[in-house]
């Protein structure tokens, strides 16, 4: 027992001492990004797989996505403290997925306001319990309902937040990657933080609406931005060119599935046949592609 306890002490202290500030880089003045690698969320990486970061105003900070684990939220908070020392006034969740919201609790006592799409609270309510129940098995995380913090401030169409001498514009999008996607535009540096509305290298994941996503992409590629930040993959200055692989993939799914539907092919056949030519173009294709086809088929089969 004594040995066991000392082992435990090591484990416990390790947890406390291991908190290093999250590595972040300023990609534009006052816009800090933690760029994640492309990984499937698992018990080894605890779901810390999304790009997250923050924007610094004269008065305070807006966090954009709190991270994939409570620990990553704490590490992000420590990075902010070390770099700026300014208070966090907003924690923006770009959508409901675990890799973007599980760090929320780290900012609870900072007095920050939580901000999200107006459909985010409903999505958290619908998925929260399921996410919490599987967090240990899938991510080796111990989560409770208090980790899922719904936004107190919701965005119906758009909303401007002032960080002190710096304005950021939040836009609530129609159903696309999810039905609760929010983007953040920093006027000062002409940076558009698209989060999971935009995937690079990592295969796009459909968990909202394929048709809706293509509609949003049409709007987003209408103008140029100095920087555009995806939820997964490298930030880019090459806009809208950098969006084209994602657009091509989504369009290919739509057209091939519509053809199969006309031929009376089943969901199972679509899952086996559609979009295989895109495999070399994406990381995590095997993990997400069949889910994408499934979701897209279930959506498109209701078209008249």
């Amino acid at each position: 027992m004594k040995i066991l306890l000392s082992c435990l002490a090591i484990i416990l202290c390790h947890c406390a001492w291991a908190l290093e500030p999250l590595p972040v880089n300023p990609i534009a003045p006052g816009v800090y990004l933690h760029q994640a690698e492309q990984h499937w969320p698992d018990r080894g990486n605890h779901g810390e797989i999304a790009n997250i970061g923050f924007i610094v105003g004269e008065r305070c900070i807006a966090v954009i996505d709190s991270g994939g684990s409570p620990q990553q939220g704490l590490a992000l908070r420590l990075a902010i403290k070390n770099i700026t020392g300014k208070p966090v006034c907003y924690v923006i969740n770009t959508h409901v997925h675990p890799d973007h919201i599980y760090g929320n609790l780290a900012f609870k006592d900072s007095g920050a306001q939580y901000v999200g799409h107006y459909k985010l609270p409903r999505a958290m309510a619908a998925r929260g319990e399921f996410y919490i129940n599987r967090a240990d098995e899938l991510l080796a995380l111990h989560l409770t309902p208090e980790h899922i913090i719904p936004p107190g401030l919701v965005v119906k169409d758009s909303m401007t937040l002032n960080l002190g001498g710096r304005e950021i514009l939040l836009t609530a999008h129609g159903s696309a990657h999810t039905d609760n996607d929010l983007s953040v535009y920093d006027k000062q540096t002409d940076t558009l933080w698209l989060a999971d509305l935009f995937f690079r290298e990592h295969i796009p994941v459909i968990d909202g609406s394929l048709k809706g996503w293509l509609t949003e992409l049409d709007k987003l590629e209408n103008r140029h931005y100095h920087w555009v930040i995806p939820g997964h993959g490298k930030p880019t200055q090459d806009w809208p060119a950098a969006l084209q692989p994602q657009k091509r993939y989504l369009q290919l799914l739509a057209s091939q599935i519509r053809t199969l539907l006309q031929q009376g092919k089943t969901l199972e056949q679509a899952v086996a046949e559609v979009g295989q030519s895109e495999k070399p173009n994406w990381a995590l294709f095997d993990e997400f592609h069949r889910k994408n086809v499934t979701q897209a088929y279930a959506e498109l089969e209701w078209e008249d």
Binding site: L8, P41, D179, D207, A298
Partner: protein, 277 residues
């Protein structure tokens, strides 16, 4: 135990890797489902009369395609009368109880279900002469960002009640013909975190479907929330002459996502489809 040790033990449980689960254990079946649904019945797993197809890895836990195929044709002398289906490890394992008839032609059924975690999925068939047999498949519901809920609730709400029959009209009279019945319905599982977000927690789902051809029954189904949003079934019937395929169905609301004591019946729907070779 000394009070101060408790948090350490709790942490110890968390730090240890999950106990390795036997792939597809039958615990829930043996302890709960079998006694609840088949008390006193002998159910054979050797040489079952049906086959079950399911993906080993379910990429989208909200839409897992399953297919049961009968190994015997439906004849008035011998036919499969009922098929039950379960997802052992779902909070509510019951998928449905499906009734077939000689005029179903074939007791085949393809459907889409929700699978919450790693689980055995099973189908049990009963013949008209009272024999039971069972098949099962292990399915790993994927992790990732997915959840076994509809992706776009408002879109599902908008087209709620819309129904489609899909039939290949180049069929031969008198031979079993496959048809697909699609019902647009969000099939809400109910939500349990309402204390935080103030959302309604009632479940609302299609609970009964009855399909007839020229007023003769083809398929009856009692189903629950394990059925995916926009319930979708492929099955057979025998068009012995031109006529009308009809589907009647109803939904209901229950106070709890997993208990069925307090429920209110909802709407009734009817859809008809002219079948002509």
């Amino acid at each position: 135990m000394p009070k101060s040790l408790k948090p350490i033990i709790l942490l110890l449980t968390l730090a240890l890797p999950l106990a390795v689960r036997a792939e597809g254990d039958d615990e829930t079946w043996n302890n709960v489902i079998k006694t609840q649904y088949f008390p006193g019945k002998t159910i054979s797993e050797t040489d079952p009369l049906i086959e079950l197809e399911a993906p080993y890895r379910a990429e989208d836990p909200a839409i897992v395609p399953l297919k049961v195929s009968a190994k015997i044709p439906q004849t008035p002398q011998k036919y499969i009368k009922k098929i039950w289906m379960f997802v052992d490890k779902n909070p509510l394992p019951f998928i449905g109880e499906f009734e077939f008839f000689p005029q179903s032609g074939k007791a085949d059924l393809a459907l889409r279900v929700r699978v919450n975690t790693y689980s055995n999925i099973r189908a049990i068939a009963e013949t008209n002469d009272g024999q039971y047999s069972m098949v099962k498949k292990f399915v790993k519901a994927s992790g990732g960002c997915s959840a076994p809920v509809g992706a776009d609730l408002d879109e599902a709400m908008k087209r709620q009640g819309k129904v489609k029959f899909r039939i290949d009209n180049s069929f031969k009279t008198g031979e079993p013909l496959q048809t697909q019945l699609m019902i647009s319905h969000p099939n809400l599982t109910g939500m349990q975190m309402d204390q935080m977000t103030r959302y309604i927690r009632k479940s609302n789902f299609i609970d009964h479907i009855s399909v007839k051809f020229n007023d003769k029954p083809v398929l009856n189904a009692d189903i629950d929330i394990a059925i995916s949003a926009d319930p979708n079934f492929r099955f057979y019937f025998v068009p012995d002459r031109p006529g009308e395929l009809s589907a009647e169905f109803s939904d209901k609301s229950c106070e709890s996502p997993v208990k069925r004591e307090a429920c209110t019946p909802g709407k009734h729907y009817t859809e008809r489809y002219a079948v002509a070779p």
